[in-house]
């Protein structure tokens, strides 16, 4: 199989598994237990916390282990809103292309009476700092804008956003699930108050994440229980998971430059070759995007059938079509960058990893155009486009 769905999840690195295994089989004590096995687990957990902190330039006590990105997003946003509403601040600024973990949390808060401004991302998938400045109000409690987009890979001007938020005394959270381990993230330099991380996006294990929260940010616990994670996250610590995440992040940080260099070449080949397919278009900024992300729309076809046929050909990919999103509407991200519904249905996301080879990209370049052509041949929409009954939009 050619696995090109690494924004979905990644393969666990074997070295990560090696680091985790002793804490599953031998030192399996509960990190809250007083006995030596428990204490050994505690030590390892704290070492993992230090490692993570170092990778994002935070203090260890600002690192909270969670179950993943969605939990971190939910907790960060809810915490900021609880802090805000005490001061009568009930306004939030976000963007139109956030992950559903952010969007659905915001929707919930809107029902509670919070007001949310969703910044436009224009046709390149990037927010404008000017728009953020204009959206800030006296009662703005939080700015939550993702670091890099999970669908189209666009990288937001986080450092500039952080600077503005700090100057205005507004909390800034960033969903950095797609960014951490892929591009440099420095919470100090970038003035980030809260940051969500998921272990499985950089060859770590699933089911474990990190919420970074600056020491002056009082978190609201979403899960009640014991005093784990400084009382902010009840539940027995996932020691092996935390160790795996830390090990994976450490490796990703060390190898980052080298991996990105290799991926850029493969990504750019994919983009330029797939762009040769008539009436296709790249989604998201050409330059300000993750080194592993390719997202394209092909006119006249639908994404789910494209994915199923690619799967038959041995390629694992993803799409923003309605059928794959399980709703009537195609991807909110593609709609936000101005793709019409019928075009957004025909999207394909290919995301690379450090394991992706040149041969795999060569094969993909051969297969995708054939499948697109096959589907177009049976598409009444393509037929109308070809006959001029319907106008090409891309």
């Amino acid at each position: 199989m050619i696995y090109l769905d690494n924004a979905g999840t990644t393969k666990l690195d074997e070295k990560v598994l090696e680091a985790m295994t002793p804490y599953l089989l031998e030192e399996y004590g509960n990190a809250s237990s007083l006995h030596s096995m428990g204490q050994k687990a505690r030590e390892a957990l704290e070492k993992a916390r230090e490692q993570v902190a170092k990778c994002i330039n935070a203090k260890p006590r600002e690192v909270y282990f969670t179950s993943g990105g969605s939990e971190g997003d939910s907790q960060a946003i809810i915490s900021a809103c609880r802090l805000g509403e005490r001061k009568g601040k009930k306004h939030i600024i976000s963007s139109k292309i956030e992950h559903h973990a952010v969007l659905h949390t915001l929707e919930k808060l809107e029902k509670e009476g919070f007001e949310v401004t969703y910044l436009d991302v224009y046709d390149n998938g990037i927010v404008k700092v000017e728009d953020l400045k204009n959206a800030i109000r006296e009662d703005t409690a939080l700015v939550t804008i993702m670091f890099a987009n999970n669908e189209i890979g666009t990288i937001q001007p986080v450092e500039e956003i952080g600077k503005i938020c700090r100057e205005r005394g507004i909390l800034f959270h960033s969903d950095a699930v797609q960014a951490v381990g892929h591009i440099p993230v420095d919470v100090e330099k970038m003035n980030i108050d809260m940051l969500s991380i998921a272990g499985h996006k950089f060859h770590g294990p699933k089911g474990v994440g990190v919420l970074y929260a600056r020491s002056n940010v009082l978190l609201t616990a979403l899960i009640e229980g014991g005093a784990q994670e400084r009382g902010k996250r009840g539940g027995t610590e996932n020691v092996a998971g935390a160790i795996g995440l830390a090990e994976a992040l450490n490796m990703a940080t060390i190898e980052m430059e080298e991996i990105n260099k290799k991926q850029l070449v493969l990504r750019d080949r994919l983009i330029s070759e797939l762009s040769k397919i008539p009436h296709s278009i790249l989604n998201g900024d050409r330059e300000k995007r993750l080194a592993n992300n390719v997202n394209m729309c092909f006119e006249g076809i639908e994404g789910e059938s494209l994915l199923l046929l690619l799967d038959d050909e041995g390629i694992c990919a993803s799409s923003g079509s309605a059928c794959t999103s399980g709703s009537l509407d195609p991807s909110h991200v593609l709609l936000a960058i101005g793709r019409p519904h019928e075009v957004a249905h025909g999207s394909l996301r290919l995301t690379l990893s450090k394991y992706t080879t040149e041969e795999e990209i060569d094969k993909t370049i051969q297969i995708v155009p054939k499948v697109v052509e096959y589907l177009r041949k049976m598409s009444p929409v393509w037929d109308q486009l070809e006959k001029g009954v319907r106008k090409h939009v891309i």
């Binding site: 006249g300 076809i301 639908e302 994404g303 789910e304 059938s305 199923l308 046929l309 038959d312 079509s321 309605a322 059928c323 399980g326 009537l328 195609p330 019409p340 519904h341 019928e342 249905h345 041949k377 049976m378 598409s379 009444p380 929409v381 393509w382 037929d383």
Partner: protein, 145 residues
């Protein structure tokens, strides 16, 4: 697996794809905005559907239901073909996931639309109500869900 083996077979090897140049009736249902459009061609000789072809823009189940629908109507008298329900298409495919059932409704409507076109062209009277498209209702239904 999302789909049954039968669905995957009809998706991977769709029967009767293409156009009929001198079709007796052509029907098109669905909406590109919603992600699926089906176009059905029928050739009628002596009241019998002797050939049926389709073109579909849509997901795996949209292609599979179109393919199955063409198989079901081929060789049948027109009056019988229009009585084929979406349920019959689903059953013939060995079932569809709940959120894909609307594809089978589109297939039923595509057949009806093609027959309606044939009746219109040949001045054959029919019950307007029976041939009214419900696509918009389906779409509305999905929106509400």
């Amino acid at each position: 697996m999302l789909y049954s083996e039968k669905v995957m077979d009809h998706f991977r090897n769709p029967r009767n794809v293409g156009e009929i140049e001198d079709a007796s009736g052509v029907g098109e249902v669905g909406n590109a905005k919603c992600g699926d459009i089906m176009r059905m061609y029928i050739k009628v000789e002596n009241g019998i559907i002797t050939d049926c072809k389709f073109m579909t823009f849509g997901c795996g189940s949209a292609i599979a239901t179109s393919s199955m629908a063409t198989e079901l109507v081929k060789g049948k008298p027109v009056e019988e073909a229009v009585k084929i329900t979406n349920q019959a298409v689903v059953e013939a495919l060995g079932g569809l996931p709940a959120h894909k059932l609307h594809c089978s409704v589109l297939a039923e409507e595509a057949v009806k639309a093609a027959v309606k076109d044939y009746y219109d062209k040949n001045g054959i009277a029919y019950d307007q109500e029976e041939y009214a498209s419900h696509t918009h209702e389906i779409v509305k239904d999905r929106h509400e869900k």
